[in-house]
Symmetry: C2
Subunit: 257 residues, 2 copies
């Protein structure tokens, strides 16, 4: 059984539309490359009760939870407190976090708000931040990371060695310049004949193209041979409809790392 | 009391990382412009049980739920069935949806899979699709829209007249070339003195800039005068730290429509 994960994005700026979240997509690709199945994502605002409720739901349902956002020095950064409450543990300065932050600032500039970044739930281990110093942390099955994408990505790299590897999902994308509704009946048959893989269909419209309507058919599964068999069946299907199937490289067939 | 909303994004392609979701950000801005508070977002895969559970949780907790994805003609499009199950109602061809789809295709090309797009839960009203015909629908407090961004946006425009308007959140962004940790203590004081608004702090790092560390301080609230008072307090704070505050236009202070 492969491991499952959830992502919890924390921040009013995502919900107001001010900021386009890109961390989830990065984490999704990262997990796909490790062979861990991302099953659910939630976004909540900077409200402790909301964070606690979402975190407890997700950590009970999945092997791992990755959170982003809310671990900076300002008053609206409340993730560490919310995580402590969710786990029912205390929170205080973590000596290592305190020491590494103290060393970053000139004398007198390690103020009380900056010290907030050293407040870590009891029992948590630090997650190094090679970009800007202030660490994330890891408690139980929850990994708490920064919201700034560059920092979040660095933390994820730090975490990679301690996460389990599973058999990765293999993926082949067959593109067909055939309207989705035309290919849909055959597609359903191919899916029925290949129950051990999943087929997703993603339509496109290319203005000005000779045949503007088409679909990318994405075959995914952990058994590479089964994926290949289904992909070939799809290619046959596309040819039977008078079009030339094309295999294309998509993001999740070519993991980033 | 302002109305609240949730977004439910449905699709394996978001969870695998193949596709970067942009619909949520668009809906967030749309709701912000209407004065409706987006409180929560969830992303689940193409699994009926997951969709039903998420939908029932969200529709119970919020005034409106907007879903995207899973209403096309292919076997992996299962949103309509999941919504029917969540509401405990039947599902079948909606005569208007059937008629408008039938009229779109040449004789003989309205196949069984395309007919799937006319399957609508009992009691639902259609949401017009000015782009590609196949409608979304609206049942109870749930609005079901396509996943293709161009189509989703058109559906949202169609819905706009039937959604309530509330007092919109006013927003002023003050940018300061001051490290977040330096401004954080004063920021907390300003927040304490202006409890009726919320202040978010979003740090930035501009490589090569004279003062590369800074933060955008976003003041949000429904009382424009209160927002303005807090923004002025922030500008004073920034000046007291020897920097020149700058008001900037951000996406959510200038609604798109």
């Amino acid at each position: 059984m492969s491991k499952t994960a959830a992502v919890l994005v924390i921040g009013d700026e995502i919900l107001s539309g001010r900021t386009q979240d890109t961390n989830t997509n990065h984490i999704a690709r990262f997990l796909t490359a490790l062979g861990i199945d991302l099953k659910e994502v939630r976004v909540v605002g900077d409200e402790e009760g909301e964070i606690v409720a979402a975190l407890n739901a997700l950590r009970g349902a999945h092997d791992f939870v990755f959170t982003t956002g809310g671990i900076g020095p300002t008053h609206d950064d409340i993730t560490a407190d919310a995580v402590a409450r969710a786990f029912g543990v205390g929170i205080g300065y973590h000596p290592d976090a305190y020491a590494l932050l103290e060393a970053r600032y000139p004398p007198g500039e390690f103020n009380d708000m900056r010290k907030r970044m050293a407040r870590i739930p009891e029992g948590a281990a630090l997650v190094a931040n090679s970009v800007s110093g202030a660490p994330g942390f890891h408690i139980g099955n929850v990994y708490v990371m920064a919201g700034v994408p560059m920092v979040m990505r660095a933390m994820l790299e730090t975490l990679a060695p301690e996460l389990p590897r599973g058999p990765t999902v293999q993926s082949v994308t067959v593109e067909a310049a055939v309207p989705e509704g035309v290919i849909a009946p055959g597609l359903a048959d191919v899916q029925k004949a290949h129950k051990d893989i999943s087929i997703g269909s993603y339509p496109f419209y290319r203005e000005g193209a000779d045949k503007p309507f088409g679909a990318q058919l994405v075959v995914r599964g952990r058994d590479g041979a089964a994926v290949e068999r289904a992909a070939q069946a799809l290619e046959e299907l596309v040819r039977s409809l008078g079009a030339a199937p094309q295999r294309i490289n998509t993001a999740d067939s070519a993991p980033k790392k």
